[in-house]
Symmetry: C2
Subunit: 499 residues, 2 copies
């Protein structure tokens, strides 16, 4: 095969994959937001088909030969071409090891899982979820066997969401968190507890939605190239940079839960909307990893959305939607949304204990795929870990092991991305503050554009050009490190608790 | 190739096509209901890709060889297998004649067209729609050249929506309508004009939606296997029998426009929900033709929905949603929704003049593809035909040539399906009345199940097993004939106008 033929073959498959992913993305979004209940089975079959098709395309012999032909070119390729070949071959070599019928079965099951989980959680019935969970774990264990990771079995899963990530690296990053965070919880407990009494009341869904729309637009999510809908578990689906869909959920007894979910998903959405279209033909119009993705969502949810400056900006807008909060000063709002206290639900957790929720899931998943734990052991193991890490025991499984959607969709190995995202967000924030020292003044004025522009320049615009450590090195000059996150969290606790 | 190998090859492609169609159906639905405006371009590209993929699959040499191998078996095949081969070869031989790059270009353009039309209609700006319309007509003319129809060029288009349909057959069926309908309009004018004054007022969208949900469910549309949404032009998308999506649109100054659109689409939807899943593997879990499809929608919209019996049933339900109509007797409602009078908008037209709207579009399309008319001539030609057939001149293009979505999506040759649908609905109704003489009493009691069951037995359950004339022959014992429709319409006019 000639080099230009090989390139043409690869570009053609990349284009096909882009359309497949757009279709599969829409089907996935629809499944969680619009699909009538009777349609789940058929949709799962179609999603399984498209999952299998992607594998078939990526392992098709002419395509693989073309990639290998190009790999041999080494530095003779343009940088984007080389990166394209590297990224695709990573996927190809992974997928070649997995039997197609098992891969398809996994996709069908993962597509069905969400609706089974949704009902099980609503009914607080772990038993109803157990059969599908067991089968998913079984399939994923099988895949690990096919993949034969050199180190810990769980490495094979971590690697899917951040290439090259291992148990060894995660342990090294999480150990300082696991040690320091309980000290921060204790520090908070020694301070002045913020008043939350004014958050009681009824806050109509329509007003919450208006607030979510307004503030997500303000921070830079473009609603002409996106939507905001409702789902059982908030998520973002980037179908194309011009079609990015975020969701939230509304609790009428809580004014801000939906807003923080929206800001989180809008952070993901802003990343997706600002991916470089010029890299589409190389298949690199994509995030660098899920942990980098979470750095963007957690940045907008917390570093921006839970800052005092943000509440100075947002207070009058909040008052428009919730007249009951019209008299509340920004600092009281800021303190109220930053209360540090162990709680049951990860997505509702404060920034400090949030990371302990992740450590919990990480340690359970690690044990699960080391064969030290079975699906049926999860509720008890969950509750024991909650007691160990947060000093709480969930009153039921809906507020325990059933709270997250991820496992129902076969997403094992994903959770560490959230804590890594926090860690990366703090590193990026320190770098950003060097370039934009008036960061907080700008937030207070509602001038979010330069913040978005900085993130686009240093993160979004690179697409999948670099692996996360290299991307971070370029953006911050540093290696992944939990210190900035711990500094940021301690400052936050001191400000909120007046220490 | 052995026979069983050939069958396996065909079954596999049929399954792939089913998943492709499900994905394309969802994308099409989403485009008209959910897609953010910025996403149109990318979506059109993806839809073009999937259109091209279907053509590629259907013309793939091994698949075509398998079909031809099976065709040679003739009666040695099971009846479903034979029908499958016939139906697929019809498509294959059509698609083989069209160059793939042109077919793809058509699909991209047809996908973009709807949003361009939507804006042009909103702005009453035919000029904004003209370039895309011209290009679509150009492409369709090209396709006709490739297809080389034996008779009138327009035959090539009619045949897409009802196999074997020709200008000759449509002319023969429409001529009696073109002659008799103006006489029925005059007959109505000689009677007692129904009072419509109570239809004035403001009817909140939410109440209209509640009514649409309730009454579509009542007639047999299953909302657990379907949805009701809003779009600029109402439509139905059958993604799977378990996932059928209908849309309507709401005008707050009109209580029943949305309801009739909903009943119409629910008729389509009931057809789609009751297709035979056992025929899916043969690719025959599909409607017999678009005209048979329209027979179902027009049946529920008009034969059921505009009957006196229906308004006796619906009046109390209507009163719940629209308190202002609480005192109005069923007969007054019945007469008000059946006023026969020439008007501008097809989908709002009464049952008599409706067919003249179709004759208009049919004659324009026929001229267009005979080369007697160009895209830029359409507004003037439209207005002249309106004057000729209905004695009216539209005040603007939004209420004239721009009113329908079809051309913007490249649907040329579709319109006759509506009048044929009316004609077939009347034939089916006469047959149904023989089996269910208490048809109207059942409607009045809200007992719609036996009506739905009759239609399922005689129409839905056959899927695409028979071409329309054979299906009708089996259901009614007759050849396509306009007489039942004219009888039905004259009875309606006499009842409404007290003649």
């Amino acid at each position: 095969m000639r080099r230009d033929e090989a390139l043409l073959t690869v570009f053609e498959t990349v284009e096909r994959l882009r359309h497949y992913h757009a279709a599969a993305g829409l089907m996935g979004w629809d499944m969680q937001t619009m699909l009538p209940p009777g349609g789940v089975e058929a949709r799962a079959e179609t999603m399984g088909f498209f999952g299998a098709e992607s594998q078939r395309l990526l392992t098709e012999p002419t395509f693989v030969a073309a990639l290998e032909r190009l790999e041999a070119e080494g530095d003779a390729l343009a940088p984007e071409e080389r990166r394209m070949v590297t990224v695709l071959l990573r996927d190809v070599r992974r997928l070649q090891k997995i039997p197609p019928e098992r891969y398809r079965a996994f996709h069908v099951l993962a597509a069905k899982g969400e609706s089974i989980w949704r009902e099980a959680r609503a009914e607080n019935d772990f038993g109803a979820f157990l059969p599908v969970l067991r089968e998913l774990i079984q399939l994923v264990r099988e895949f690990i066997d096919y993949l034969e990771p050199a180190g810990h079995p769980y490495d094979a899963l971590l690697d899917q969401y951040e290439p090259g990530l291992t148990v060894e690296r995660v342990d090294a990053l999480f150990r300082p968190l696991r040690e320091a965070l309980p000290r921060l919880v204790a520090l908070a407990a020694s301070g002045e507890t913020p008043d939350r009494s004014f958050l009681k009341g009824r806050f109509p869904k329509e007003a919450q939605r208006a607030l979510s729309l307004r503030l997500s637009e303000a921070i830079g999510f473009d609603h002409r190239r996106g939507r905001l809908d409702e789902s059982a578990h908030p998520f973002t689906m980037g179908i194309e940079p011009t079609d990015v869909r975020i969701t939230t959920r509304y609790f009428e007894d809580d004014p801000f839960s939906s807003l923080f979910s929206t800001l989180h998903e809008a952070g993901h959405g802003i990343y997706e909307q600002n991916l470089p279209t010029s890299l589409a033909r190389y298949g690199l119009m994509a995030a660098a990893s899920m942990s980098i993705h979470e750095s963007q969502s957690r940045f907008y949810e917390n570093v921006v959305g839970r800052s005092l400056a943000f509440w100075r900006y947002a207070a009058p807008i909040v008052a428009e939607q919730f007249p009951a909060l019209a008299g509340v000063e920004p600092e009281r709002l800021f303190r109220a949304v930053n209360v540090v206290t162990p709680s049951f639900i990860r997505v509702e957790a404060d920034e400090v204990t949030y990371n302990l929720h992740i450590v919990l899931r990480y340690e359970l998943e690690k044990a699960l795929f080391a064969g030290e734990l079975e699906a049926e052991d999860l509720p008890a193991a969950w509750n024991a870990k909650m007691e160990e890490l947060l000093g709480l025991t969930p009153p039921d499984d809906a507020r325990g092991v059933l709270q997250d959607v991820h496992w129902s969709s076969g997403l094992f190995g994903y959770f560490p991305s959230y804590a890594l995202g926090n860690l990366y967000a703090a590193m990026l924030t320190e770098a950003l503050l060097r370039d934009l020292p008036d960061f907080h003044e700008r937030i207070e004025r509602g001038d979010f554009a330069p913040i978005r522009a900085w993130m686009t320049e240093h993160v979004h615009a690179h697409g999948n050009r670099y692996d996360p450590p290299e991307l971070l090195k370029r953006a911050t000059g540093r290696e992944p490190d939990p210190a900035p996150l711990l500094r940021y969290l301690e400052d936050k606790v001191r400000a909120v608790y007046r220490l």
